[in-house]
Amino acid sequence: MRKQTLFLVSLCLLLIDSSVGLGDDQTLSRAEFDQLHQELNLKNQAWASLPWKVTLTEARESAVKNGKPIFLVVNTGNCLGFV
């Protein structure tokens, strides 16, 4: 009996540990959509609220106009996009 229980527990753990698929009944509800929309919205990322410029020329023009220095981030990939 104890061996059987241990076997069943092990089997359950194995199943839990393997892929977690979306069940047939798992659709995306409106409530879940609303919650995920907040989590995935770029507007809720602090870095995305900064006054980024997309080209060097525009950044320099803005710096002169506003009397500010330029902060540059250099990445392999664009830090504002796919990186």
């Binding site: 995920l36 770029l42 950044a59 330029i70 981030v73 996009g81």
Partner: protein, 282 residues
């Protein structure tokens, strides 16, 4: 990606940047938002940083600070010290080094922001990209970001309640993040402003989608689509954000979104990664 999450989301760094700096981000590998003249101009101002770097300079080119890294404190210090040195330049004439050569979203079209993240509850498995454990949690909770451009005619179709095939195809490359092995079957339908349905992966996993498309006077005013599926570990130097640290051999719930970007924000002009392909808009 780590710098964006760890440094550029830090509240003190963000406040300093918002109040005192003009911010610019460039790609030192493929240079989609840099011209040859831009690269030359930036050569001694941080433009040659390897992998990642941050600098501060004036519009005229005076270098005020160098740094970078994945910790907010040294970057904050660099910003503060640069500000102490800064003297506004009033007589600088900025030559155009080719801003019109940078790829721009199609005229009359739309820009969609594409984001994705691993759903809460997943376990991280470190990789060399995540500092072999140091940044595992940062990766796991991070928001991956890309863009998708929509042609004018495609936007027009959306506004009349149609979901064009060419747009479906362009979206498919992003769907791979929630569909292991890529998209096999797209069953999304657009009806009465509701975009919903399933997508099936090459491995027969299913992703569920729900979204809304609204228009006014022939213009799309809302495009929100969220797709919930399964993601697998992706070893691409961190470009896949949270998928970088997923456990090997497991499929984990991941969500992906397409949202209409704010056309009034410069950041919306950041080119999509795939715009490098000559047939991107076909």
């Amino acid at each position: 990606m780590i710098a964006r999450e760890a440094v550029l989301n830090n509240s003190e760094v963000v406040q300093l940047l918002r109040e005192h700096f003009v911010c610019l981000a460039v790609d030192n590998a493929d240079n989609l938002n840099l011209t040859v003249a831009d690269k030359e101009w930036l050569k001694d101002r941080g433009g040659q940083a390897c992998t990642q770097g941050m600098t501060v300079f004036t519009a005229g080119g005076t270098l005020l600070g160098t740094g970078g890294g994945y910790q907010p404190a040294p970057v904050k210090r660099m910003l503060e010290e640069s500000l102490k040195k800064f003297q506004p330049e009033t007589s600088i004439v900025v030559e155009d080094t080719g801003k019109n050569l940078i790829p721009r979203p199609p005229a009359g079209g739309l820009v969609l922001t594409v984001t994705w993240k691993v759903l809460a509850g997943a376990q991280a498995e470190s990789s060399p990209t995540s500092g072999s454990g140091t940044y595992d949690q940062l990766f796991l909770s991070s928001l991956g970001v890309d863009r998708l451009w929509v042609r004018k005619d495609e936007a027009g179709s959306l506004a009349t309640g149609q979901f064009p095939e060419s747009l479906r195809r362009r979206m498919a490359s992003h769907l791979k993040r929630v569909l292991p092995g890529g998209l096999k079957d797209d069953r999304l339908t657009l009806s009465a402003g509701r975009l919903a349905g399933s997508c099936i992966s090459m491995q027969d996993d299913r992703a569920e989608a729900l979204g809304f498309v609204e228009s006014r006077d022939g213009q799309v005013t809302r495009f929100d689509l969220i797709v919930k599926g399964l993601g697998v570990r992706s070893m691409d130097h961190g470009f896949s954000a949270g998928l970088t640290v997923l456990p090997q051999g497991k499929k984990v719930p991941v969500v992906l979104s397409f949202m209409l970007a704010d056309e009034n924000q410069d950041i919306s002009r950041t080119p999509p990664y795939r715009v490098r392909a000559a047939n991107y808009l076909e």
